[in-house]
Symmetry: D3
């Protein structure tokens, strides 16, 4: 049942997975529109952030299309990081359309915005499975990962050589690579 | 007639006006999809850049909706400026989905990307009228501006106090204000 | 009569002059404590910003002492500029102690903080005389400037070679020098 | 016995504790005035840097007042970090009033400024107890921390929900949290 | 007659011209070695800074070679700008080999380094002719420019389309273009 | 046998060692000219990056001279880091003279530039011995390090107090020091 005009979710979406997709469905049951803010947009080609902002936008856009989600109801907005946490929320507000509720599974995010906006706790059903780090590790270790992401994500990752990229990043000692 | 998979246009959209809208229509006749890159995304509350990235996204989104433009065909992506012009095009590519052709009325932009991508010259039909600076000046001078922008842009500007904002910025001596 | 716990004033204080000093007295009649935020703290050795943050702090501290203003009632806080105007006020709040009222003669500043805090319009009595630009110009043109600033400011400027510095900056073509 | 005009101490003061307070007393026995430079001023809401620059200024100001330390003898100055260590000392000098001696318990700081200024080694008496990391850990682990800080620091931390903040940060996995 | 171990000159070298070349010869009469710091290294494709750091290095290297200047006596070092002027000299020192004397025709630069290093005033013989701005203007206005620069500079500018680039930049309204 | 006009190698050169020197010889057998890009140029006085860009330039310059390597064949160019990896290669190209082949022992670097330039894998013969980290560790642990670097590097490190610097950095707890 639609209760809010616009909800917002923040994620790095490295990559966008089925847990995210389910969350989109849930929010679109409660909100007319959804803003998906793509965090750490300035990073790419890192083990923790292998995909560019542009690649992540393509993956999400294609996933929503494949699910027949009305695209006019979703805003995809890349968001660079911001050093001063105390004013992070105002920064966020300046970069995205107005929103009424924030969904977050992250206590830190909820803490930063507390009392400034309605916040709804969100948790992924099977978090150990459906999270980006797990998927990236499965890719490195030649595990079964492709049923954890929407089909278009799987295809785009393959087309852009994403699995090779992540495996290369896992071997590199250039950066103190963090998962 | 659709000739390209994806076209890209860059603008500051301060504000999005009927010239932009017509351009969107033209490109969607030639391309399956369109990326609208919203430049100078980090600036706001300046005479040259009065609206935040978030406000500009709302204006454009609402304008496209009101024109029954299929939203699944358009990507709206804020883009911060980039100091090193020689690698500006690679920066652009990292922040947006892959594209095949760039439309630009700006010789400088065309020069920076020459030989790296197909470029098509675009010129607004009535440039002296349909350009952001002219519209911001009309707002300051109490001229007739609201028929130069799509109706939703007019409404959002009024709702957020945009005309008062621009007039205040024009009077302020805080910044060496440039049109 | 004390009406507020803490007031805040922002200035570049290039240099701190008698208009500023009078304002300090006025605010300390209305507020228990005063925060003086020293703007553009990162700039120095420029025609518009000739003095370092450290030098400005010394000038103001010495001026307040010479006036027997209780130093426990005043906070002197350097503040670097901030690009994203829409979240400038939250940035300000993160950098200074909590305050209840903002005094400003600048319509732009008042606009940015409107509805977020009590704001009181302040105007310097003789603004053409008591403003930093005028004082810097007088220094360049060998005019009478030293009765426009508190005695300790005059002395510090002389001790650090401030008049020579400003005259040199006025002649230099290194920067597109702005007054 | 007063031997120097002005001494300088740098710390992050996360939070200001009794060891810092004792150091202030010691320096004010040797110097007419003291500059307290508050390092990492741009950070906040991090496990290592939970408090904003503004909050830290309030804590220190209130602690000095409660100890009847003459506030006209102390400068509290926030200082953002600086990437190029080789010119860090010149950066420091541009941001604070002139000083004659630097007190530091940190060999790295002493090394960077060696031969450029008089340096005096300082060590906290009970360093394992009186240091910010220990206090933040005690807060997280529900230990006894409040007798390690001046009473006004304890009160401000409680008023701004500082203990909850630090506990939340300790649980969060958003940042690779460092103590 | 060699009097110093190493001299330093700073310029933007947009482009390197015969005045610069003559200066190199003069300094190499007085110093064993010369550091040429290439300022504003981060800028390019601007009317004031049309050439990249890499292009400028090539031009200077080729010019020195063509003059049979012993390359082991010259260091070519790109230098990005630095915001805090008060510590600019320490920044410079961290980026280049140790030097004993600075040659400068710029009073501002001389002022910033005064008392920190030996400084020798340098003036180009025919400054109205031999300066980058004049050369760039001649290029735009189809004047005779190529006898003002060493032959290899002329050739490199032609090979990389430098004259077209500068003319395009002069026409563009993208940036508030400054000469 | 000379096969290419210009080769490029990137390193941090903390410090320049005999492995690097051998690589220079090898490349100068295959290329007319060599660009040595000195990475992480903005860092210094860190355990991982103890020497300034200027110091590193001096070490390399002196080493090449002592080996009678024709200095007109080598470009030494400091290069600051760059956040957006996807456009790192274009950034590199803007900062150095044009080159035809990149030599790298680093898979990450090779991956980033793949298909954009010829790349040749390079591996140091005795990598566990000839690498900067090993040399810095030997310095800290009072091991035998000075036969791993060219004689001028050893001398410069001694002259600038480099061994004391590295030992001090190894003890410091100011930065989360990484080898």
């Amino acid at each position: 049942m639609i209760q809010y005009k616009r909800g917002l979710v923040i994620g790095r979406f490295q990559p966008f997975h089925n847990g995210h997709l389910e969350l989109v469905h849930e929010i679109l049951n409660e909100c007319e529109e959804l803003v998906l803010a793509i965090g750490s947009a300035q990073f790419n080609y890192l083990l923790k952030d292998p995909f560019t902002a542009g690649e992540r936008i393509e993956m999400i856009h294609a996933s929503l299309s494949s699910q027949r989600i009305d695209p006019s109801r979703v805003f995809l907005i890349p968001l660079a990081n911001f050093e001063n946490n105390a004013c992070w929320f105002e920064y966020l507000k300046s970069m995205v359309p107005q929103f009424d509720i924030l969904y977050s599974g992250n206590e830190y995010v909820r803490y930063l915005v507390a009392k400034k906006i309605i916040v709804k706790v969100h948790t992924f059903k099977n978090k150990p499975k459906f999270n980006g780090e797990n998927i990236r590790k499965l890719i490195v270790n030649d595990g079964k990962w492709d049923d954890l992401v929407p089909i278009p994500v799987k295809e785009i990752i393959k087309n852009i050589g994403g699995t090779e990229r992540i495996r290369m990043l896992a071997k590199s000692d250039t950066y103190p690579q963090k998962w």
